[in-house]
Every structure is written in C-alpha cells, then in structure tokens.
Subunit: 212 residues, 2 copies
C-alpha cells in the first residue's frame, strides 16, 4: 500500500521525474527508457518502474515512455493539474518572503491570506495578500475550504499553530519551523529542512571540491 | 565517477539515511540491513548499497550495518563533521529569515555576514549578524576564506550576484531565487524549489486524501 512506502519521498522523486521530463520535452525528446529517466533524476530504472507501478501501467516494454504523455500523467499524479488555495501562518520575515515567492503562482499555488497575532500587521496587506487575525483562521479555512497551510512561525509557537490548523480542517501542512511537530495520522505534514540543503553543498565540497 | 551520478540527489539520500540512522540510534537499534535502511529512507536496498559503494565498503554481508558507525561515516561523507562559515546575499525578508533560522547553527553552519545594496540596511546588524555593502563582498570572501553563500535576492538580480560570488572565490551556492542560474562547471549550485515542497502535499492530498 502506498502509505507504507514513505510516500513523501516518492512524491519528491515524481517532482524530479517531472522536471526531467519537462526538460526532455523542451529538447524535443519523444521517448525515454526507465533507466535513462532514473539516471536523469538521480535514481535508477528499477525505482522509476516501482514508483510508477503504484499508479498503473505506463510505457511499452522494451521501448520506453512517451515523454509528453508521461509528463502529463505525472502532473496529474502530483495533483498539480488544478489550482490550490494556500494560507500562510506567520507573517514575519519568512512568511513575507513566501508571500512574495514567484514560483508558487507559476505552479498553480495561490496564497489567499496570511495570519498573524501581531496587532500592527493585522488588517494590512502585503503584496496584495491580506494579513488577518489568527483568531479568524478557523472560520476562514472552513468558509474558503482551504486544505493547505504553510507554517512560518517561530518554533516555540509551531505546535500550537498546527493544532489550530488541524482543528480548523486543514489537511496538509508545509512546515518551516525547525522542530518536530505532531499531527494526527490523516494529516499530511512536510517539514522543509534548510540545513539539508546546505548539507548537499558541504557533501559536494568535501567529496568533489577538495575542501576536506 | 561520482560527478556523473547526479551527486546532488545522492547527497539528499545521504541526508535521509543520516536522519534515519540518527532515529535508529536514539531508539537503541544497533544493526540494520541495507533493505531496511532503504525502506526507512524511502528508497530501496540496492540504491543504499550503490550509494555507499562510492565511498568504500561498509557493513557485513548477510548481517548489515553497525548503526552508530554508519551514522558517523555518513556525517563525514556529508562533510558536516566540521564547522562551515556561510554568507547570505540579500538581506530582505528571506535573507532575514535565513539569518534567524535556528536549524543552521545546530548543524554546524554559521552565518558570519549578510550583504545587501540597500543603504538603509548597510552597517546595521540583524540578530548579531552584520549587514555589509555588497561592494565589500569580494574582499570579505577572500579574507575570511568563505566557500558557501546563500542567495536570497530577487530573481532579477540573482545571476549578477552569482557571477560576483563566483569571481570572488565562492565554491558552493544555495539559491532561493526561482530562476535558472548559470555557473562554471566547478561551482556547486543547489536550487531550493519551494514549489516542489508544496507538490509533495498536493500529491498526498490527491492520492491518499481524496481531494481530487
């Protein structure tokens, strides 16, 4: 069953497959083998075939995948063939940066509101996004049927915010606070670990850059 | 050769192996098989064995890996068994959030300075980190032997900043600007794509959450 197969890491691989397929399509490549796709995405062909096998049968044995077709299928698997409304909780530096992040809108994510406790921010707008009182969050989430929230509050407040989000009906949370959060089993939580991103560079410097 | 094997994605897997091994160690587990480690990190045993094979021979065939030993080896492979000095370019919302990010210091990354072009920011400090004139960057990087820079400027200025970093001697760049950057072959560039992080949630909502 998919849930037992560490789906978060599967979806990251699908994002990598999607990026590789988009580049292949732009380069005019029509057909690709699972081994080549795996290599381009930094994995291997067996993992590509296994990941895809959860979602049906793709490609022709001994020939490969149709690049455009597989790109569309993976967009649909990732759920980004539709627009999603997103709220941001915590309108500090990171929250403001996320509101201004141009990559979200380009990929069909729309930040519709931010929430904060700071009286000097509440009632203002940032880049056209209203900053609301966190006390209004439960009603807003229900009325607007928001499913996704981004948490950009200090680590000290993160668990209380997440509890409020869950009780308000949020189903999926992208958390930037560097702290382990607890959510019910049916809530999807993705923690962005910025240290891991720096580790990818120290790995390269150490192993390929002669910086040990 | 390692460079041809998409090392960025290998290092992300090593970060996942490290997190899994740290949890195992905290739970008192002494020995783990490559298949179990692969499963915990969302991959498979073959990939674990292949990834480790670039760095030597680990574990005992038919038995598994010593958890503590492999955790130390992977810390060393990731290059995080030492302290790294890091600079941030762009002291806007995202730059300030990164300066305040507690996860960096905990993992041995120290932000020693931020750089900006904004005259009202230059000469000030944020959370003890001095904000300097970007004109001083080349000399600072050389004098302090900085190897790693984080780019948190608007996408329009990102390429110019990266060119300046490279000519100043920076070897590795963590880029948050949602734009494709060009760097020489011997410079390590890691682009953080925040949209991919949201895609991981829409994937779960779509496939496991009944939100299609």
């Amino acid at each position: 069953m998919l849930r037992n197969k560490a789906p978060k890491f599967i979806s990251e691989r699908f994002s990598l497959y999607l990026r590789a397929l988009t580049q292949l399509e732009e380069s005019g490549v029509k057909i690709i083998s699972s081994d080549d796709l795996g290599r381009l995405a930094g994995g291997n062909g067996a993992l590509v075939r296994k990941d895809l096998s959860y979602f049906g049968e793709f490609g022709i044995k001994g020939v490969g995948y149709n690049v455009s077709e597989l790109r569309r299928e993976i967009s649909s698997i990732l759920g980004i063939d539709r627009r999603w409304k997103v709220i941001v909780v915590g309108a500090g530096h990171l929250g403001s940066a996320l509101i201004g992040y141009k990559g979200f809108r380009e990929r069909n994510f729309e930040i519709v509101a931010a929430f904060d406790m700071d009286r000097t921010k509440i009632g203002t707008e940032y880049l056209g996004v209203p900053i609301r009182d966190i006390a209004e969050l439960p009603e807003f989430v229900r009325r607007e049927r928001i499913k996704i929230a981004v948490v950009s509050v200090p680590r000290e407040s993160a668990q209380a915010v997440v509890d409020l989000l869950v009780s308000s009906g949020i189903r999926a949370i992208l958390n930037f606070a560097p702290v382990k959060l607890h959510v019910p089993e049916d809530i999807f939580l993705n923690n962005v670990d910025l240290s891991t991103e720096l580790e990818s560079l120290t790995f390269l410097l150490t192993n390929l850059g002669g910086e040990r």
